[in-house]
Amino acid sequence: MKQQAPQQQMKTGALKVAPVMLCLLFLLAPSSRPAHAEDDVLHSEVVEPYIEMRTQPGRGYPVFYIAERGESVQLLKQRTDWVKVRNRLGIEGWVHVNEVGRTVDEFGEELAFKAPDLESFTHRKWEMGFMLGDYDSTDALTGYLGWHFTRNLSAELAFTENFGEFSDGRMVTASIVHQMFPDARYSPFLSIGGGVRQTNPRSTLVETEDRTDNTASVGAGIRIHLTKRLMLRLQYKHYVVMTDRDDDEEVDEWKIGISAFF
């Protein structure tokens, strides 16, 4: 038993930094997109009668300038659904992506800009989000990141923390998720996974040791495209926690959450 202690400690340590790592993952994952060099600015020509330039990226901000047909604009950067453009006079403003999508490049082709919609949802590559719910009749919280490597299959990494009356726990789970109807707005899925769970008895109870166990899980759920990048996620998972005791723990988990894709 004593020989296992360092390994146990390592697992415990790993679980302690897991939320921080997940937060970092949340923040760093999409930063790998290439930033464009300054001298490689993209030009675009207005072919609609005009496009509206706003003072700030938002639909409520005033239109202060109109770029007319035939005018060429530089595309500088994008924030949410707004693209910052500069015209030849040096006037800068924010244009909605759908309007930018109706301008043309030097070959006369429309630019592939548009606000994310149901079609982008069905072709998403990454998704992340968080869920709240019930793990074995305790409050539970999950953050997750998913990568779609085919249209039907995705790999997911989730961190779950639950808070019970007698113990709380942290859990890292890796899963393979299969969605049967990738084109549907209401897209059901099945999942199978494995992971590690650390259980910490409450400090107000008599002294008991933290324990770390492996888990296996199966689940089912549905993702629903709400609007733009946002989706709602409902899921059920059944966990088997492989304890050192005679019986394994079997746990039901229900979750509801909000996610976004990119």
Binding site: P19, V20, C23, F26, L27, P30, S31, R33, P34, A35, H36, L42, T55, Q56, P57, G58, R59, G60, Y61, L75, L76, K77, Q78, R79, T80, D81, W82, V83, K84, D105, F107, E109, E110, L111, A112, F113, M128, G129, F130, L132, D139, L141, G143, E161, F163, D168, N200, R202, S203, T204, T227, K228, R229, L230, I258, A260
Partner: protein, 216 residues
């Protein structure tokens, strides 16, 4: 009479066959002509790579009022993903330290908790809504974007040697100094049920903070 009849029928048969054969040969001819098709190269239309700045990352410092304990300095980091112009996902991590409880200070007796247990740290994940987007004007020259937003989230608080499920609600103000640097003010209430003093009690831990964040 019979011959005349036969001749007409034969003629009709030959004419039909002739039309059929010509039809087929014409169809074959047009197939042959289509082999020479206009030589147009299909170009793949891809989304031009321009810099997207939907992520916000930064640090903050503030005051955290821990219920039954003192108000203490809190430090934290905060990152957000702006999903639409209205909504963003945000993750925060902060840490502080609880001082003596009011009871410990007044009674002057032995402390109730180890110093190590007084470390207060928390994280939360949630959704922010830019409820009141705006623009403020400085002198004649500058117009800066601002957002007044509401936030709701959930997370965990590590305090007094236990973890507590924590709901966080709040409001904040973000002022963009330029396209990518923002100054923020936040007021948040971290609510959790605690039973360290025996009975379960709901505690409100108010955090007031200010920070700088960067969009990338």
């Amino acid at each position: 009479m019979e011959n005349w009849h036969k001749r007409i029928l034969l003629g009709a048969a030959i004419a039909t066959a002739g039309v059929f054969v010509t039809g087929v040969s014409v169809a074959q001819d047009s197939d042959a002509q289509q082999v020479i098709s206009p030589d147009i190269e299909r170009r793949e239309i891809s989304r031009p790579a321009i810099d997207t700045e939907d992520f916000e990352l930064g640090g903050y410092v503030g005051l955290l009022s821990i219920q039954d304990f003192d108000s203490e300095v809190v430090y934290g980091v905060r990152g957000a993903w702006h999903i639409t112009e209205d909504f963003f996902f945000e993750a925060s991590y902060g840490s502080s330290e609880g001082d003596l409880t009011s009871y410990e200070e007044l009674s002057g007796g032995a402390p109730l908790f180890d110093d190590a247990d007084r470390d207060y740290s928390f994280y939360n994940l949630g959704v922010g809504w830019n409820a009141l987007p705006g623009e403020i004007y400085i002198l004649d020259k500058y117009a800066l974007k601002s957002d007044l937003y509401l936030f709701a989230g959930a997370g965990s608080t590590d305090f007094l040697d236990d973890s507590w499920f924590t709901v966080t609600v709040g409001a904040g103000y973000r002022l963009l100094l330029n396209d990518w640097i923002s100054w923020r003010l936040d007021v948040r209430d971290h609510i959790f049920d605690r039973d360290v003093f025996g009975a379960d009690e709901t505690t409100n831990n108010i955090e007031v903070s200010t920070g700088i964040t960067f969009f990338f």
